[in-house]
């Protein structure tokens, strides 16, 4: 598989087009006159509603794509991804527990930090349960355990809470979306996601070295232990920060690295940046589809991602099975 030079500029151009579409398209069709008028209403729609949504889409999509590519590289397993392995659900549980124990109201940072702690706990649990280069079975089972634990915890906490909106809130956490988020939320998720991305990107060399196997990587002077915790830290920040604001958006990290592999080759380190760009494009596209679908209320973005992702997961597992047997 050869790296295609046009791939990254083309993907970047796609993201730019999707960002522009994301700002121009919505429930309300803004005519050119309204754009030019720049009154309070068009400004509220463009700046307070659509712009934060587009930026958040780019950030969340890019970081989730990056997290997926890094996890697949590190675990050397094509099925690894924060959503399918329950890391996202764990971070949603962290956020929900901060609501349940009434500490989330103390400061706007409490909830995302609890989400980050949840995400990091999920990553650590995953490493403990499955270890490095675990079999597909162990890995998928660890993911099922984590997801089941997190979802039951979320349901329990929200059902016990006095809010009359508990059921809706559970759905909102489990099926994430970008609808009606504002700059207030963006300023909270943004820094966490950016720091997480930097931590993950710094792991490029260990990821590449791991393709030679653990002993091979060690002989190259790679501190695998450090790389493991750096990845847990970075992915925890990414997943925690994005989940705290958008809820669980699954499958981005699963689909995108696979698509990118056919474009830029399968070297894990070289896959990180293209996966980030592809992730941004996928989430933006999904979010635009959600807005354009007819119907009374907007579909949650997580629904669309699962509709695309679950069949993809199926095909992937099917082809892997053929390869294994």
């Amino acid at each position: 598989m050869t790296s295609r030079r046009w791939a990254i500029p083309a993907l970047l151009a796609l993201v730019v087009v999707l960002v522009i579409l994301s700002i121009t398209v919505g429930r309300v069709t803004l005519t050119w006159d309204m754009w030019k008028a720049q009154d309070a209403i068009s400004r509220a729609i463009l700046i307070e509603l659509r712009l934060p949504r587009a930026i958040l889409g780019v950030l969340v999509g890019a970081s989730l794509g990056l997290a997926g590519a890094a996890m697949q590289g590190y675990l050397r397993n094509a099925l690894a991804e924060p959503g399918t392995l329950g890391v996202s659900a764990m971070s949603a549980l962290g956020a929900v527990l901060s609501i349940f124990f009434n500490i989330a109201g103390l400061h706007p940072w409490v909830l995302p930090i609890c989400g980050v702690i949840g995400g990091m706990t999920g990553m650590a649990a995953l490493f403990v349960l499955s270890g490095m280069a675990a079999s597909v079975l162990t890995l998928v089972l660890s993911g099922i355990i984590l997801s089941a634990l997190a979802i039951s915890g979320i349901s329990l906490a929200l059902s016990l809470s006095p809010s009359p909106w508990a059921a809706g809130e559970i759905v909102r956490w489990m099926l994430g979306g970008l609808t009606d988020r504002s700059f207030d939320e963006l300023t909270i998720a943004g820094p966490l996601i950016v720091i997480g991305c930097i931590a993950v990107l710094a792991c490029r060399r260990p990821l590449d070295a791991l393709t030679l196997g653990e002993t091979g990587a060690r002989s190259l002077g790679i501190d695998l232990n450090r790389a493991q915790w750096q990845l847990a830290f970075g992915i925890g920040l990414i997943v925690g920060g994005s989940t705290a604001v958008t809820g669980v958006i699954g499958f981005v990290g699963l689909i995108v690295p696979h698509m990118m592999r056919s474009l830029v080759g399968s070297r894990p380190g070289a896959l990180l940046v293209p996966s980030a760009i592809g992730g941004a494009a996928l989430v933006l596209a999904g979010d635009i589809v959600v807005r354009l679908l007819p119907g009374g209320s907007e579909l949650e973005l997580g629904v669309v991602m699962s509709l695309i992702g679950a069949p993809f997961f199926f095909v992937l597992l099917h082809s892997m099975r053929r390869k294994l047997t």
Partner: protein, 288 residues
């Protein structure tokens, strides 16, 4: 399983209820499984006839009778609890679980099923039906008359122009066409824009649509400051705050939306208050 359960329960029933051999004309042990029926029940009969209310009745965010319900027994809508209370009438709505109703049927407990009223007239009719079942026709008529009088007094004076308005509760939920609250809004001189945007029943109103043509009055739900719930965040969205100069934000707690019946009285009071406040704001703005 079912076959042996019923006689067993029936036997325990007869053994403990020996004194109730003469059927009383009025039900004396009433259980309600629906918050809206609870609110009618507590006003129509003396509280010693109420065997249990629904657990929602005690929730101050949803219920208008939370204070009264605290001193009355409640159930969590399971057949087991209801059977143990040995009621002679169970009031239930379409919201209750089918399995619970089937269980009551098997055990032979009399229950009455009520629909959720979609209009003021339907709600008033329902009060009459409930009152008749309770043997409290006179009290029921008085309640209906009281509600009618309140609604008539709340009507928009003919010399005043109506304002546009929308309900915006946590989660973006609004009341559209075919809702009691929508009808009360029109009656008090607030044109419900949510109905015009195609919102039916209680459904979310897209924030972008709402912002694109802000109504004169926005009836927002109660939120606790700093609440981390996404549902409540949308009510405090910056886009709405940016348009605060164009619309009057009035608090309209969710508990006024959930039920019709006697809740219509405080609901119209809140609507009239919101309309008057918005009109006063308009007047001061035009004189400036």
């Amino acid at each position: 399983m079912k076959r042996w359960l019923a006689p067993l329960l029936a036997a325990s029933w007869l053994a403990s209820g020996a004194q109730a051999e003469e059927p009383t004309p009025h039900p004396m042990r009433i259980v309600s499984l629906n918050m809206c029926l609870d609110s009618i029940l507590v006003e129509l009969v003396s509280h010693d006839r109420i065997a249990a209310l629904s657990h929602y009745a005690r929730d101050p965010q949803r219920s208008m009778i939370a204070e009264a319900a605290r001193h009355l027994p409640i159930t969590y809508e399971t057949a087991e609890e209801i059977v143990a209370l040995r009621p002679d009438l169970v009031l239930t709505s379409r919201h209750s679980a089918v399995a619970t109703r089937n269980a009551l049927k098997r055990v032979g407990i009399r229950f009455e099923l009520f629909d959720v009223p979609n209009s003021v007239e339907e709600s008033l009719e329902q009060i009459g039906t409930v009152a008749h079942l309770l043997g409290a026709d006179r009290e029921g008529e008085a309640m209906v008359a009281r509600i009618r009088a309140t609604l008539d007094a709340a009507r928009l004076p003919p010399n005043e122009a109506p304002l546009t308005a929308a309900i915006y509760q946590p989660g973006g939920l609004s009341a559209g066409a075919n809702t009691v609250v929508g009808e009360l809004m029109e009656l008090t001189g607030l044109r419900n824009v949510a109905a015009r945007y195609g919102v039916e029943q209680y459904r979310p109103l897209p924030l972008e649509v709402l912002v694109s043509a802000p109504p004169d009055v926005l009836l927002i739900g109660e939120t606790s400051p700093g609440s981390p719930l996404q549902a409540e965040k949308v009510v405090r969205h910056r886009a709405l705050r940016a348009l605060e100069s164009q619309m009057t934000l009035a608090v309209f707690p969710a508990r006024l939306v959930f039920c019709a019946g006697p809740t219509m009285v405080p609901a119209v009071a809140a609507l009239v208050h919101a309309r008057e406040e918005a009109q006063a704001r308009r007047r001061t703005r035009s004189t400036l």
